[in-house]
């Protein structure tokens, strides 16, 4: 059984009588340990797909099963708990809370899982160490560079040890050099066994992942599965191994 099973999922918006099919009959399986990119031009429905996969949004039609649980049956409270325990998000604009320190930002998911202060501290520091940012724990997000902020956001996504990590254009707001470092970090996490879904419009970035799902006008256009082709984890020439 796949970690995520998406079946005939559609997301339809109505804008002034006009019907917008942000997602149109999408079916998709994601297996444990996979490193996938979802690629497509702007407005093709990548973010919508990621939000539905990440239980932030619900589909108009279709079903999602995550870790054996049917998501469309879950209450909002259960959905919040699923996002909290099983899913980590990384966004293009980092989405750190400016008034909290880096450490407090990383602690945030654990606050909502009711973990005791001291343990929260230790685990947040551990996650920051894993992204090489422990020395900036006391800083405010605004005192960090873009790349450092994104690493803090990745630490926050990791801290509750989720089953799957979704990253929406994680390098979209970074210069190419910093972006490569972030990609290298994702590659390392993937090697450590994490399940990662990388959303991007950039084919060069998508090239990093073994499996690519191309999406156009809300439909899955093409699946490139390098795992099946025996080309598991090709070394991306632009990325230096950490």
């Amino acid at each position: 059984m796949a970690l995520v099973e998406l079946r005939s999922v559609s997301k339809i918006y109505h804008l002034g009588g006009e019907e917008i099919r942000a997602l149109d009959d999408v079916s998709l399986d994601i297996h444990e340990g996979e490193f996938i990119s979802i690629i497509g031009p702007s407005g093709s429905g990548k973010s919508t797909l990621m939000h539905i996969l990440g239980c932030l949004d619900s589909p108009t039609h279709g079903t999602i099963q995550l870790d054996g649980r049917m998501i469309q049956d879950a209450s909002t409270r259960e959905l919040a708990a699923i996002r909290n325990r099983k899913i980590g998000f990384v966004f293009q604009f980092f989405n750190l809370l400016p008034k909290l320190s880096v450490l407090q930002n990383v602690e945030l998911p654990m606050i909502y899982s009711g973990i005791a202060t001291r343990q929260r501290h230790q685990r947040a520091l551990g996650a920051l160490q894993a992204v090489d940012l422990a020395n900036r724990a006391k800083h405010r997000p605004s005192q960090l560079s873009g790349g450092q902020q994104q690493r803090a956001a990745i630490a926050r996504a990791l801290v509750n040890d989720p089953r799957i990590i979704f990253a929406d254009e994680p390098t979209g707001n970074l210069d190419s050099h910093t972006g490569e470092a972030i990609l290298a970090l994702f590659r390392r996490l993937s090697r450590e066994g994490r399940t990662i879904v990388l959303v991007t419009h950039d084919p060069e970035i998508a090239a990093v992942t073994p499996r690519r799902i191309e999406i156009r006008d809300g439909k899955i256009a093409e699946k490139v599965d390098l795992t099946l082709a025996g080309l598991d984890r090709p070394p991306a020439p632009a990325v230096l191994a950490p």
Binding site: L56, A80, N95, L97, L108, Y112, D161
Partner: protein, 488 residues
């Protein structure tokens, strides 16, 4: 092969859906920082609460002070057991009997003594509008009364110096009198002015030109508040100049302002008592020319047998209505059915005090309530503004797993926090306000801040915080996380 970067895989795996609540301290910390980050805005927001709470406390302190002062004064004039019988114009339907109306006379006193067992003490009074002269000074008082010795008990007087005149003095119609310190102060000077307490026993006091020997004097009556103020002032004066004569010391309040409960004490101190018979013989019988012309009612004319009033003390306040009925029955007989008298009870006064306090409470409460309402609207407004500023924050919190209830509680806690800060500031302000008020009018009844008033006011501010936070909290909790995250 999965080597997690964090040491805790277990809790997430084994307790997948046990959802924790938010960390209250962290929320309060965030609230504190939010409040501090917008200092001026927060202050404006809290202003309504501060005003509401401080006006609530100050109002209740003022009313409490008045209440205590009024009760003190009530006790000083004899308490609720006292009933006064006064002459009254005849009711319209009895106007034609005017000629037969006898007024209140000593016969009434005897009749009441004989047939009104619910009455404990009776003191007839003849009031003599008087100019008292002694020591080369004059003093006009309307508290010059001819009474029986029992008047002491009825009017809560005690003798501090000398003695009260007795039944013999009354029978013999001796020219003796007992005075209050107010009278002494006017004629001989107050201890503060003179530097020592003058006790003019044996001195001659002229009432409307007729000589009286002073045989006794009352102590100085004053309210608790006056006493404290005077003592404080004396201590301060003593600190300033230890060697200076006491003549420079603080003066007793002579009730010049004649306001509030202090007036009751002023009147009491301005008393001159003489035996009833003496008053009758000297000022009513015509044997001696009194040099004084009576009032328009004819009272005070030569040969007039009428008394000014009767002071009665009943056995029990609980049986006031019954006692009044009994007194009335007796008097209706002696007055042959002509209702030329009326009752004045302290209960009326007490009722007036209570009514006044109720009104003051009600209007003060209304003002405070409006301020709190305005404060609540201010808080709600600011919370709504802060939510639209923080749509993104709310989206982020939801994306990392905050449930609807978590966001709801966070906004509510922030709202209550602001209200509580405002409430605390209001309590401090109220103490300052009450100080200010009492420094403006130090002779008035001191406002009394009670713990109850403080806690009720603070409780209201918390309540306002909760109510004002409800709507913004619901609104924030309902935000769609996708919309919130797209919000740039």
């Amino acid at each position: 092969m999965r080597s997690a970067p964090t040491p805790a895989q277990a809790p997430a795996a084994t307790v997948p859906l046990a959802h924790g609540s938010i960390d209250l301290w962290m929320t309060v910390g965030v609230g504190l920082r939010e409040t501090w980050a917008h200092k001026f805005r927060s202050l404006l927001t809290m202003l309504g609460i501060i005003l509401g709470v401080s006006s609530l406390v100050a109002m209740s302190a003022l009313v409490k002070g008045m209440e205590v002062g009024a009760k003190e004064a009530l006790i000083a004039v004899g308490g609720l057991q006292k009933v006064r019988v006064e002459p009254q114009e005849l009711p319209v339907e009895q106007r034609h009997l005017q000629e037969q109306a006898v007024g209140i006379t000593i016969n009434d006193v005897y009749a009441l003594q004989a047939s009104a067992p619910l009455v404990k003490r009776i003191s007839p009074e003849i009031r003599i509008p008087a100019t008292a002269s002694a020591n080369g000074k004059n003093f006009r008082t309307f508290m010059c009364l001819g009474v029986w010795p029992v008047a002491l008990e009825l009017t809560e007087h005690v003798i501090a110096h000398g003695r009260m005149f007795n039944e013999l003095d009354d029978e013999m119609a001796r020219s003796v009198c007992v005075i209050g310190t107010g009278t002494r102060n006017e004629l001989w000077g107050s201890p503060e002015e003179v530097g020592r307490e003058i006790v003019p026993l044996g001195e001659t006091l002229y009432v409307n030109g007729l000589p009286f020997t002073i045989v006794g004097m009352f102590p100085h009556y004053e309210s608790e508040q006056e006493r404290k103020a005077r003592e404080l002032a004396r201590q301060q004066a003593a600190l300033q100049s230890t060697n200076a004569p006491a003549a420079t010391g603080p003066a007793r309040d002579r009730g010049r302002g004649r306001r509030g409960s202090n007036f009751a004490f002023w009147i009491k101190n301005a008393t001159i008592y003489m035996p009833l018979n003496t008053a009758y013989m000297k000022f009513r019988s015509g044997i001696t020319y009194s040099g004084f012309r009576g009032s328009s009612s004819g009272e005070g004319n030569i040969g007039d047998p009428r008394l000014s009033s009767l002071e009665l003390k009943i056995h029990s306040v609980d049986r006031l209505a019954e006692s009044l009925q009994q007194i009335r029955n007796v008097l209706m007989t002696t007055h042959r059915g002509i209702e030329d008298f009326s009752f004045r009870t302290q209960e009326e006064w007490a009722e007036n005090i209570n009514a006044f306090i109720r009104n003051a409470r009600r209007s003060g409460g209304l003002i405070a309530g409006i301020s709190l309402l305005v404060g609540g609207i201010g808080i709600m407004n600011i919370m709504l503004a802060s939510i639209s500023e923080r749509v993104r924050e709310i989206g982020i919190r939801k994306s990392v797993g905050a449930a609807t209830a978590d966001i709801f509680i966070q906004i509510l806690v922030e709202s209550v926090f602001i209200a509580m800060l405002g409430g605390l500031a209001g309590l401090l302000t109220s103490v300052a306000l009450v100080r200010l008020i009492s420094s403006f009018s130090p002779t008035e009844n001191a406002p009394i801040i009670t713990v109850l008033a403080l806690s009720v006011a603070f409780g209201f501010s918390v309540l306002v915080g909760v109510l004002a936070g409800l709507f913004p909290a619901v609104k924030a909790a309902r935000l769609n996380p996708i919309q919130a995250l797209r919000y740039e």
